[in-house]
């Protein structure tokens, strides 16, 4: 496993490269869950990122951070096979990334459902099994048992038959996780899954994800603009800013020196207890309960 920094971006983190390589909780794993080699993604002349080498081990938790427009969502789309790389290769569990791969579970942002939508919690989870297949839905005992087990695993058994539109955001995100995990994917891709959830639900949902990757060695790629709710779980951070990036453990990437160099402007990173507060990025602020801190 190697982690190479983009050309010309050797920062303080690169000196400790060996330490960055191996925060892998899963023992004896051979095939990485995600393997990027010299990957580049560009829209016309605008290069989002290039020269990206990254191996994500089974069970590893990687947070993808960065300001809006840095290519976080494009990174997810690329892993989902919806956006082809302009150079390099991407493999998911040893196979080239392809659209609709069952090796990937996808958890999107929470969004509200219409209260009258004829979809129950168990139906939403059931989409994860066979929603993409042609034909008519057909009930079966096996299918029902799988759904019940998936619902129970995320603590959603109590509202299995409730319409999804009548559930809270936190309850809906539990269902999303059950839906994404029901095919036992190698990688769980999360796109801001905690957005618009309250603190208690943020904790509950991220704990579910963390438990799963420890128990079933599912690798987690977690796109977020706010690292604090998941800080204790994150093995490595991939920080994207305007074509540059850094990869490493939070302690090594989330520093004043590294972020200042990435952004090309002075950035202050403060540790406040078990939180990280980033000051100096106008469009991208990591804050917990620190809204009162003046931000440039």
């Amino acid at each position: 496993m190697t982690t190479r920094l983009a050309p010309g971006t050797a920062g303080p983190a690169s000196g400790r490269r060996e330490a960055i390589m191996t925060p892998v909780p899963a023992a004896g794993a051979t095939t990485p869950a995600v393997r990027l080699r010299d990957a580049e993604l560009a829209f016309g002349p605008r290069v989002l990122w290039s020269g990206l080498d990254l191996d994500i081990a089974p069970g590893e938790f990687v947070a993808v951070l960065g300001p809006n427009g840095a290519g976080k969502t494009s990174m997810l789309k690329m892993l989902l096979g919806q956006l082809p790389l302009t150079a390099g290769t991407v493999q998911i569990a040893g196979r080239q990334a392809s659209r609709g791969s069952s090796a990937i579970g996808y958890v999107p942002q929470q969004r509200s459902f219409d209260p009258g939508l004829p979809v129950r919690a168990r139906d939403l989870v059931g989409f994860g099994i066979d929603g993409h297949r042609w034909g008519l839905p057909w009930p079966g005992r096996d299918r029902r048992q799988r759904i019940d087990a998936a619902l129970a695993a995320v603590g959603a058994g109590g509202y299995a038959d409730s319409p999804v539109g009548m559930l809270s955001g936190g309850e809906q995100q539990r269902l999303r996780i059950a839906q994404a995990l029901i095919t036992d994917p190698a990688v769980l891709l999360c796109d801001e899954p905690l957005l618009s959830l309250d603190l208690a639900h943020q904790q509950a949902v991220s704990n579910l994800i963390d438990r799963r990757r420890r128990e079933a060695h599912t690798a987690v790629v977690f796109v977020t603009h706010e690292i604090n709710p998941i800080l204790s779980m994150v093995d490595r951070v991939l920080y994207l800013v305007g074509g540059e990036f850094r990869i490493g453990p939070p302690d090594e990437v989330m520093t004043s020196a590294v972020l200042s160099e990435l952004y090309g402007t002075p950035i202050d990173v403060l540790r406040a207890g078990d939180r990280i507060v980033v000051l100096g990025t106008d469009h991208h602020v990591h804050h917990g309960d620190h809204d009162d801190i003046e931000v440039l």
Partner: protein, 301 residues
């Protein structure tokens, strides 16, 4: 009352309207099946728009190709199918989000309706067809129209049977469906095509103004009493077929037109389901009690 609901008159006339009853039943089946998908995709207003543009298409066909006495039901049917399908596909291109789509439909709809009125005003032939397109003409359904309806029903139901599961997935949860490999961009226009065909057929029977009562109301009633997609579909088919068939039978009473009969039956079913639904909401869905927040989040009306 005996003047209005004369059972003997109905019994006498029944043999003459078998064609209409079959047409009504088929249409109820179509509307009931496609209704849950319309609901999941939030397309009620697009259905209304397509039905009125279907009327404009029929009127245009009558004016431009129906010279002299040769104006047949088939011609109007063809025109309204073309109008409705074009409208439906156009609405489909306006974007997935209802918010973006609805104002554009609101802009196109009155213009199309105005064109339809203009075409009918310019048409020099019989005026009987003028209102038929707006409020339905099922009693006058002929053999050719019936076969056309059967053909369209086979195409629409057959296609829906193939694409149902991924289409429903994509309607409820487009992002995740796309991530799971559902061809979302291919299914959306295909569904709009099927919807356009269904709307055009419904326009023939209940008229452009009342299509919603067979395509929207039955599903709206069904979702009040169950949240299971399968049960909603079965119930909405039952409600739509019942409304169409019973409505047609009631309309055999002298002086009663078809449309109000169909829409009234449909509406009564909705009222009953709403009542049952509100009782049920008080008891709670499933094993979990509905919070007061969830109840107030429900749209009124």
């Amino acid at each position: 009352m005996s003047d209005v609901f004369s059972l003997s008159t109905i019994a006498e006339l029944l043999p003459y309207v078998y064609g209409s009853l079959i047409a009504g039943a088929i249409l109820g089946l179509l509307g009931g099946v496609i209704g849950p998908m319309i609901q999941a995709r939030d397309l009620a207003f697009a259905v209304h728009g397509a039905s009125e543009l279907s009327f404009a298409g029929g009127a245009a066909a009558l004016l431009f190709f129906g010279t002299g006495a040769a104006a047949t039901g088939t011609l109007v049917a063809t025109g309204s199918i073309v109008g409705s399908v074009i409208a439906a596909i156009l609405f489909g291109l306006l974007g997935f989000r209802a918010r973006d789509r609805n104002s554009a439909i609101g802009v196109i709809l009155p213009f199309g309706l105005g064109l339809g009125v203009l075409f009918l005003a310019l048409y020099p032939g019989r005026s009987a067809n003028k209102f038929g397109l707006l409020v339905g003409q099922i009693v006058a359904v002929d053999q050719t129209q019936l076969w056309l309806l059967v053909a369209v029903a086979v195409v629409v139901l057959g296609s829906l049977a193939v694409i149902w599961r991924p289409l429903f997935f994509a309607s409820v949860d487009p992002e995740v469906a796309a991530a799971r490999g559902v061809p979302v961009r291919f299914l959306a226009p295909l569904f709009m095509l099927l919807l356009g065909l269904t709307v055009a057929m419904a326009v023939q029977i209940v008229g452009a103004l009342l299509v919603l009562s067979l395509l929207i109301t039955p599903t709206a009633a069904a979702v009040r009493v169950t949240a299971s997609p399968a049960k909603v579909t079965l119930l909405s088919v039952a409600f739509a077929m019942f409304s169409a068939v019973v409505g047609i039978i009631l309309s055999l009473t002298p002086k009663l037109p078809v449309s109000p009969c169909v829409t009234t039956v449909s509406f009564l079913i909705y009222l009953v389901c709403r009542l049952i639904g509100s009782l049920r909401a008080r008891r709670g869905w499933g094993r979990r009690t509905v919070t007061s927040a969830a109840v107030t989040a429900e749209p009124v009306g």
